[in-house]
């Protein structure tokens, strides 16, 4: 008795057992009919099957009644009871058995569509190893407080958001960013809960844990998005609200007119709007889930619909089309080859070389180039200018940089620094000329070429002798041209670039990327005006940007897409679609997925409506009875679910 109670206490086991037993009874009934042609035995088995499967349904109907609400289970119970009363045992058995079977199959497939989310939730480890002096204790991950230090071993999942204190490793961050290539982490790097530590031991200072982590916030966003009802879903739910009472009413009316109880009961059986109400949510959940797996966060079904209709796109430059971080792109230095040949290294004999760094694929620089970078870094080492950062980052790859003994910075011009015997100047051409350093025509020509390409040139001199120049640029993301051409191929002709940057730089990037319409040197509110103007021309506009200065435009656009949103709340808040990584190709991908999902919703609604129409016609022409009605109904629900699930693989 106890085991039976235990078995029946667990809802899903109970359903499975009842389903299995009633299935056996139905089979036994048909076997009796086939082998012994015994209609009595057949009816007896079918009666038992109805009672077995009906037990669970009636229980839920009763539960509902007790809570004063009527449910689908009540209608099925009435239909089955009525079936038994008019002695159509097979029909009653089929209705109850199919209802249970359908429910079980549907729950199973529905749970598959919820897989992405489950994967994300399971990414978060349950425990963390807390470091306290020499002591190591394992505690629940959500109980780690800000400032505590945790140890993450190789192969383990990182339990909290935090900053690496010591140690170095690579981390697989695909759960957060959708980026499959592991990221390098050293002391000072930020790490996220749920990412996987690949190969090194790291000590992490926690900043957030439990429900506050980036992972938890992403999960919450995805869930909110999936729960947000698309306009189509709201429409269908309104329809469903009168559909069920309508059919029940129809059942009563037709009984009063025809006195045909079986017809009335059949109508009750098909009164569940299952396929209809599930048609939209199934596509939306699957579409949003699939996007989330790729690192695209679509904030709701409504945005899927809007994104599917986009005709024009406006893009921010810095941080969207470019990496948003200045980089050293070229080094101009003098060759000392003449020196080696024993010739007096007079200026006119020195050869000028321009080295383009992106083309070198990490090959080491010639010695003169290294020297140039080294002295520039010494002078810039105490500066916080973004250009200084770029220079130091480039030099940092080849060793330590000493701080100067004395330095002075001339705002907007350059820097003067002294280290031991060495006197260094770094800055614009005019600045170095003012300091009495001679600059020959050859190098000035090279610098002019760089400026035309949108680079900022910084000259470097040591002890009154020009060493060369450094070209710095905020570089285009390599996949930007491919993304623009993909958008064009997808039928979006009107593409514009919006930037606060100078026209020269803006046009250089626009040409590389393949955008013809450029709005340069504009303010955030101008960006907004341009979006409104495009909308006035009748376009559905998507705006793509990376943050605070794009926020107004992101909000006015029909669809706002935020770049690299992992971590920053501002972008997620204003945008309708947020990309978790800086993968540009995810922009056309998001639009494509939206379009596919929109199509899928339409197919599902059609399947559901056609089924309802066919069933009603079938019932009134007498070709559909209780068993058939339930079968077609459950099949249509499954068809809709399976069709929706296809979005997982597009």
């Amino acid at each position: 008795m106890k085991t039976l109670q235990k078995l029946f206490g667990n809802a899903s086991t109970r359903k499975k057992v009842l389903l299995f037993v009633s299935g056996l009874l139905v089979t036994a009934g048909w076997a009796a009919n086939f082998f012994w042609a015994s209609s009595r035995l057949f009816d007896a088995f079918m009666l038992l099957a109805t009672l077995t499967a009906g037990f669970e349904i009636a229980r839920r109907a009763w539960q509902g009644l007790r809570n004063r609400h009527t449910n689908i289970e009540l209608l099925v119970t009435i239909a089955a009871t009525g079936g038994l009363a008019i002695e159509v045992y097979w029909e009653a058995a089929a209705v109850t058995f199919l209802f249970l079977l359908g429910g079980w199959l549907e729950a199973r497939t529905m749970s598959k569509t919820r897989d992405t989310l489950k994967e994300l939730i399971n990414m978060a480890p349950e425990t963390a190893i807390l470091v306290d002096g020499e002591k190591r204790t394992e505690i629940p991950a959500r109980e780690v407080d800000e400032g505590m230090q945790v140890l993450v071993k190789p192969g383990a999942k990182i339990p909290v958001d935090g900053i690496v204190d010591s140690g170095g490793t690579t981390v697989d961050e695909s759960a957060i960013t959708g980026e499959p290539i592991p990221a390098e982490k050293q002391a000072g790097s930020e790490v996220y809960a749920g990412t996987i530590n690949k190969n090194g031991r790291i000590y992490v200072r926690a900043t957030k844990s439990g429900a506050d982590t980036t992972l938890a916030r992403i999960i919450r966003r995805v869930e909110e998005a999936q729960e947000e009802k698309a306009p189509a879903q709201r429409f269908i739910e309104r329809f469903a609200r009168w559909y069920t009472p309508g059919i029940v009413g129809l059942s009563i009316v037709s009984y009063l007119f025809t006195w045909d109880l079986e017809l009335a009961l059949t109508l009750l059986v098909i009164s569940c709007p299952g396929a209809l109400v599930i048609s939209t949510p199934i596509s939306v959940i699957t579409g949003i889930g699939n996007a989330a797996k790729k690192g695209i966060l679509i904030k709701g079904g409504e945005y899927l619909e809007n994104a599917g209709k986009v005709t024009a796109i406006a893009l921010d430059k810095t941080g969207t089309l470019t990496a948003g971080k200045p980089n050293v792109t070229e080094i101009i230095h003098f060759s000392k080859a003449a020196d080696l040949a024993g010739v007096n290294p007079k200026e006119e004999f020195q050869e000028i070389h321009t080295v383009s760094l992106p083309d070198r694929n990490n090959e080491s620089l010639p010695l003169e180039g290294e020297e140039l970078l080294y002295w520039a870094s010494v002078a810039e080492s105490t500066s916080e200018h973004p250009l200084a950062e770029a220079i130091i980052a480039e030099t940092g790859q080849s060793g330590r940089i000493p701080e100067p003994d004395r330095f002075e910075s001339y705002t907007g011009q350059g820097i003067e620094a002294v280290l031991g015997e060495d006197h260094i100047f770094v800055g614009k051409t005019e600045f170095l000329k003012q300091q009495g350093i001679s600059i020959n025509d050859g190098i000035e020509k090279e610098i002019a070429t760089l400026t035309k390409k949108g680079r900022t040139a910084v000259l470097v001199a040591r002890n009154n002798e020009l060493l060369g120049a450094i070209g710095i640029a905020d570089q285009m993301r390599p996949e930007a041209p491919k993304m623009i051409s993909r958008l064009r191929k997808n039928g979006i002709e009107h593409i514009a670039m919006l930037t606060g940057d100078a026209r020269d730089t803006a046009e250089a990037i626009a040409e590389e990327v393949g955008i013809r319409e450029v709005h340069a040197g504009i303010l955030p509110e101008d960006k907004n005006d341009i979006i409104l103007e495009m909308q006035k021309q009748g376009h559905q506009v998507a705006m793509i940007g990376d943050g605070i200065n794009d926020a107004p435009a992101l909000a006015s656009a029909d669809i706002g897409i935020a770049m690299g949103a992992a971590g920053t709340d501002v972008a997620i808040e204003t945008a309708d679609i947020a990309l978790m990584s800086d993968k540009l190709m995810n922009i056309p991908e998001a639009l494509r997925l939206s379009l596919k999902t929109l199509g899928n919703i339409r197919q599902n609604v059609v399947i559901a409506l056609v089924t309802v129409a066919a069933l009603l016609t079938g019932v009134f022409t007498g070709s559909v009875h209780m068993a058939g009605g339930m079968l077609v109904h459950e099949l249509s629900v499954l068809a809709v679910i399976l069709n929706g699930m296809r979005i997982r693989w597009v």
Binding site: A11, K15, G64, N67
Partner: protein, 74 residues
């Protein structure tokens, strides 16, 4: 009285009508002030008084409605 929000997750929701079954049953339970069942994600949000209704009790009530559910961190 200490009110808290507990998140349960269920895999058994097969059709949107399940939402009403669970919601009405939880709403009838004493100590529960607010219930929201999300069909799309299978997430069940319950605002309840921890002194009268424990997390285990919540799981039990949902089981009574015919669905299996688990308490979730977030």
């Amino acid at each position: 009285m200490t009110t808290t929000t507990t998140i349960l997750r269920s895999d058994g929701l097969s059709c949107p009508s399940c939402v009403n079954n669970i919601e009405s049953n939880l709403n009838q339970t004493e100590g529960i002030s607010k219930v929201k069942v999300h069909f799309n994600t299978g997430r069940i949000e319950v605002e309840h008084d921890t002194e009268t209704v424990s997390e285990e009790k919540l799981v039990k009530v949902v089981a009574q409605s015919g669905y299996e559910a688990r308490v979730s961190q977030f």
